[in-house]
Amino acid sequence: MAWAGMNWGLFKIIYRHTGEIGLDSGWHEHEFFIFLGTIWIINSLIQTLFMANAAEFSELIRTGNLDFALLKPIDTQFLISFPRINWSQLPNGILGVMLIAHSLSELMQEREIYFSVFSLPAFLFFIGCGAVVMYSVMICLASTSIWFGRNQNLYNFWFYITNFYRYPMEIYQRSGVGMALWGTFTFVVPILVVSNIPARILAQPLGTPWKSWEWGLAAYAIIGSIWSLMASRWVFKRALKSYRSASS
């Protein structure tokens, strides 16, 4: 929660110096804070539901206790993904909702925001897609500990990867390297899409109605989350094949 507060502080300070992030991208202060709130919600969902479990999985591999999970007559991925819920991470999500609500009301005083009955369900749906993609990334990361022996850096990795999805995609679309990054995190690991789409639904940085490429991106977000779920499943199975029990 405190991290969230600091993140907020950082951008408060940044917006003291600039009016917009990315030239003509439309990410002014309030729009950006809606984006930030969206990120907090997705993050807190992941950390509440999967983070502790993924770390536990890594530890099971190191100690060799994964044997017990493998023996049980239930899908292993399911078994290791959901045993625990870490409620302490939930407040961040609530904070995100509050930030979005506040920024949205400020934004509405500034300009017209288009709302329909579909806005909220669509927002929630794409948040869900986001959670699916981030879950897949996490499973892949955790699976690597089968090959590495230990993955102490799981939390760090997570932090570093989520670094790329914490900003509007416009900031990457400026140079060669940026485009490469943008491509990677859109088409290979679609984490950029899943953070950008729900935020765009509410913030509408380019005004209403949506441009056609934004619609395309939204459609792609759905495909992307299915694709990443399948990929993570494949990586998980692959990793299990190389599992050699330890110290039993």
Partner: protein, 286 residues
């Protein structure tokens, strides 16, 4: 004297080997460390783009606006340099480790054996750090070479460079003894996780890890002035600012002196805490 040197050398060797057990994990961790900087580069580019465009005499090609005296290149260079200062000053797990040893009674071994706790921990850290620099030099050199254009001013003058290196070594000591002190509070509190968390937060915000301290606002209350009187800024901001020429002339040496002062302060404090602490200590657990 010789005996204790042998003991320390042994601790040193053990720690080096310990560090090399999980190599793949370690190498990847080092490389990953630069990823956040990459996004920072893009983020600040996007910001400077906007600022430069608002200025009338904008040349167009490279963003040339400046924020609190930092041009775009300076800003990126600053973040890169902060990674270096943090490589010296950050002590992952030190506070928690000390507090844990106090809580589960492991600290008893330092009461029985003729080994000094801080000395032993310091050796461990130096070993860990040395291994880290050994492995990390290559990726660091590569990244800095690729990013050389961001250093607009080039190399700093020799005296600044000397202060830069001195402040790095001091920041290692400062980080070590500061965290030691927090860990030793465990003699009184047993559980210092929340304290560590607060420390981490303050550190992140006030050391300049997150952004150059010049960006801190002077109102509603003057945080900018406040950080000048705190030890945190020497953990990240000071070395980087020295390298970039943000601190010059007599200020250089005044800063260095203040840093030495802080190091001495925390060394003394940690000794006091240790001696007071073991008097209170009642050795729970096996």
């Amino acid at each position: 004297m010789l005996e204790s040197a042998v003991i320390w050398w042994t601790f040193f060797k053990i720690s080096i080997n310990e560090r090399l057990i999980y190599r793949a994990d370690f190498m990847l961790g080092t490389l990953m460390r630069f990823l956040p900087t990459l996004t920072q580069i893009f983020l600040w580019w996007a910001i400077y783009d906007v600022i430069s465009n608002n200025e009338p005499n904008n040349t167009g090609a490279e963003p040339d606006g400046n924020i609190a005296g930092y041009k775009y290149g300076d800003m990126v260079a600053y973040y890169l340099l902060v990674i270096i200062s943090r490589a010296f000053s950050s002590m992952p797990g030190l506070t928690g480790g000390i507090a844990n040893q106090i809580r589960n009674g492991e600290v008893k071994k330092f009461l029985i054996q003729p080994v000094d706790m801080q000395g032993c921990l310091l050796m461990q850290r130096i070993a860990h750090k040395l291994v880290y620099y050994l492995i990390a030099t290559l990726p660091f050199a590569l990244v800095f070479f690729l990013c050389r254009d961001f250093f607009i001013e080039g190399w700093p003058p020799p005296d600044a460079l000397a202060v830069f290196f001195a402040s790095l070594i001091l920041s290692f000591l400062l980080g070590f003894y500061l965290e030691c002190c927090i860990g030793l509070i465990g003699f009184w509190f047993l559980e210092v996780t929340s304290l560590t968390f607060i420390y981490m937060l303050m550190n992140f915000l006030l050391s300049g890890h997150m952004f150059p301290l010049e960006l801190l606002p002077a109102e509603p209350f003057n945080i900018r002035q406040l950080v000048e009187y705190l030890p945190f800024k020497y953990l990240a901001y000071f070395p980087a600012a020295v390298f970039l020429g943000k601190i010059e002339g007599p200020e250089l040496y005044r800063g260095l002196l203040a840093e030495i002062g802080w190091v001495v302060f925390f060394i003394v404090l940690s000794r006091i805490l240790w001696h007071r602490g073991i008097k209170r200590y009642s050795g729970y657990g096996g």
